[in-house]
């Protein structure tokens, strides 16, 4: 089974640099990256995941609106039949400098499997994804 993953930047966010680097790093690490780019809606992520039979959706948000933009994504995935898909989120997820643990909790409560603080390296996400997908 191929390890397809959907990568994108959610909402009205147009930060493209990190997206390029994540694409590069996850591809190098052996994943098949379906990169839907910046300014992507929840529907864009879900459609791409269905079309490519992806095992994980990696959501970036750099502009602070992540909390609004990510709400309901888990529920919509389930409605669309993506029952066990992994949801990761990372970037600058909220406006301002907030206590990281409470941010992480809010996103986990929303149904995200992994949540990453600002400044996390791609390698961290790659390691986790391999672990979660049981890839040695």
């Amino acid at each position: 089974m191929k390890n397809n993953i959907v990568l994108g930047v959610i909402g009205a966010d147009c930060h493209a640099v990190g997206n390029r680097i994540l694409d590069y790093a996850f591809t190098e690490a052996g994943f098949e990256v379906i990169n839907i780019g910046v300014l992507s809606s929840q529907e864009d992520f879900i459609n791409a995941a269905i079309e490519t039979n992806a095992r994980a959706i990696l959501v970036s948000s750099l502009y602070g609106h992540g909390e609004i933009d990510c709400r309901g994504l888990r529920e919509k995935c389930e409605e669309a039949g993506l029952k066990d898909i992994l949801l990761y989120a990372g970037g600058n997820l909220v406006v301002g400098k907030q206590d990281w643990e409470s941010v992480e909790k809010r996103f986990k409560d929303m149904g995200f499997n992994r949540v990453y603080a600002p400044g996390t390296t791609p390698q961290m996400g790659i390691r986790d994804l391999k672990e979660d997908l049981k890839i040695v």
């Binding site: 930047v9 909402g11 009205a12 966010d13 147009c14 930060h15 493209a16 640099v17 997206n19 390029r20 680097i21 590069y24 790093a25 780019g37 910046v38 300014l39 502009y63 602070g64 609106h65 909390e67 609004i68 600058n92 909220v94 406006v95 301002g96 400098k97 600002p118 400044g119």
Partner: protein, 483 residues
């Protein structure tokens, strides 16, 4: 309407305007005559163009933060803090990202949630939703000029509202607020929409009101070679001037090598003035230098080092204005206290350096010459593609990859060009893609990057670019291979 670099007629403008003002209910409150009267009553120290001109005459560099929150009263509190505690010379109203995509309904959600949760759920001030009256309320609460800073491909309604609201400057341009900020807005579309914004500023000028316009220099803010950002700045400057803009601030984002940064500002001034002269535009030209736009160190003391070095470079370059980062940069939108801290470190540095310039050296002269030559290669081709029309030429130049912005989200950007730093940290072209340059220039760029690769014991590659992107956040300018 067909795109060409030609001043819009009154009929053309009014026809579009009628429609623009219907995009959101607040549009109906904009009355150009009433706004002109209001703007005439604004004291000179609150006019952006006037304050910039004074700074240019005195040879000093003024400081401006970025800042904006969802609610009017909170926004005023924020700006007053930056003015009183931070001693900001200019105040911004950073516009939220939904407004930038003209998604005013979502702004409304953000405003309501912000009221409910008692914290800003938007990353900026939704000026269109708040309308003319509230923009004026913000202006009345501060003692510096105000500017909208955003990243909006279609800023027409926003421009109408902020200028009528007394904000005497608008940042952006048809290239610089499209290519780095949108995925699927055509260059033709955004150039037209920004001609509207420029024409609006021009109309105010014709009524005797100075409105400053500032194309967004740094583009994607990530390893953009100075000649590429300067080419875009000059095109946007020329297009604005054609629509009647008189006060123009051209910008550049710090790359980090002092000689290159100073050369970028100097060549930007010299070359744009040359073009304005050639095309017969009378423009009051000033410059803005953006402190480091890339990744920041998370440590606040280290961030102060990055901020202060940006301030020092701005002063040594002789920029009229510097856009200030904050010690919270690495973690997202700063608190107002952190924002004021960034301004204070900047202003202290600017004051210490008052009157000091980087003196002319062999190296500076060479770098100015190089940037000018590279910029000319691009601009000559744009003009050729447009058969003498910079607007048409720009559309074609993007199609052809003659203008090519690194790491841009837009699908209208070819994205074949790849930049990297040389051994001294100056940003060079690693891949030219379709950017037309002379063999001499290409060889020179290549040689510099091969020198670096050699000294690092590796090949010139994309990994070098990735290392450069992370480098400042990790404490250095040039990204070295992991040991």
């Amino acid at each position: 309407m067909e795109l060409k670099n030609k001043k819009w007629t009154e009929a053309e403008f009014n026809k579009v305007r009628e429609e623009v003002l219907t995009h959101w209910p607040t549009g109906k409150d904009v009355d150009l005559q009433e706004a002109a009267q209001f703007l005439k009553g604004i004291p000179e120290h609150k006019n952006f163009a006037a304050k910039l001109r004074k700074a240019k005459q005195e040879g000093i560099t003024l400081a401006q933060p970025r800042a904006g929150v969802a609610l009017v009263d909170e926004h005023i509190k924020l700006l007053q803090h930056l003015q009183n505690e931070g001693e900001a010379d200019f105040l911004p109203c950073t516009i939220d990202s939904y407004t930038r995509q003209n998604r005013y309904n979502e702004c409304q959600v953000g405003i309501e949630e912000s009221i409910k949760t008692n914290r800003s759920m938007l990353n900026g001030f939704p000026a269109v939703n708040h309308g003319v009256h509230n923009c004026r309320k913000v202006l009345a609460a501060v003692e510096t000029p105000l500017q909208a800073r955003h990243g909006t491909p279609d800023s027409r309604l926003l421009a109408e509202i902020i200028h009528a609201g007394g904000w005497t400057s608008n940042e952006g341009g048809g290239i610089s607020y499209n290519i780095p900020y949108a995925k699927s807005v055509s260059v033709e579309r955004s150039l037209l929409d920004w001609q509207y914004c420029d024409r609006l500023a021009g109309l105010y000028e014709e009524m005797g009101i100075e409105i400053n316009r500032e194309p967004f220099g740094p583009l994607t803010g990530t390893l953009v070679p100075p000649s590429m950002s300067n080419a875009v700045a000059i095109i946007e400057g020329l297009l604005a001037a054609e629509q009647g803009v008189k006060s123009l601030t051209l910008g550049y984002g710090q790359c980090g090598n002092l000689v290159q940064d100073v050369a970028a500002i100097r060549s930007l001034i010299e070359l744009s003035e040359e073009y304005f002269k050639t095309y017969g535009y009378k423009v009051d030209l000033t410059t803005v230098f953006h402190q480091w736009m890339g990744g920041f160190p998370a440590d606040e003391s280290k961030a102060f080092g990055v901020i202060s070095w940006g301030a020092a470079t701005a002063a040594l370059a002789g920029a009229t204005k510097v856009i200030v980062k904050t010690p919270h940069e690495a973690v997202g939108i700063p608190t107002m206290e952190a924002n004021a801290q960034g301004i204070k470190a900047t202003k202290q540095t600017l004051n210490l350096l008052k009157g000091q310039r980087l003196q002319m050296s062999k190296e500076l002269e060479l770098e100015i010459k190089l940037i000018k030559a590279e910029t000319k290669c691009i601009l000559d081709k744009v003009l050729e593609l447009g058969k003498g029309d910079f607007a048409i030429g720009t559309v074609k130049a993007f199609e052809a990859g003659v203008i090519d912005v690194p790491f841009a989200p837009s699908k209208y950007n070819v994205g074949k060009m790849l930049p990297a730093r040389d051994n001294n940290g100056a940003v060079r072209y690693l891949e030219f893609g379709n950017i037309p340059m002379t063999k001499e220039i290409k060889d020179f760029n290549k040689q510099l990057l091969e020198e670096r690769a050699k000294s690092e014991g590796r090949q010139v590659s994309f990994q070098m670019v990735v290392d450069d992107i992370y480098a400042v956040g990790k404490g250095t300018l040039v990204g070295k291979p992991e040991k």
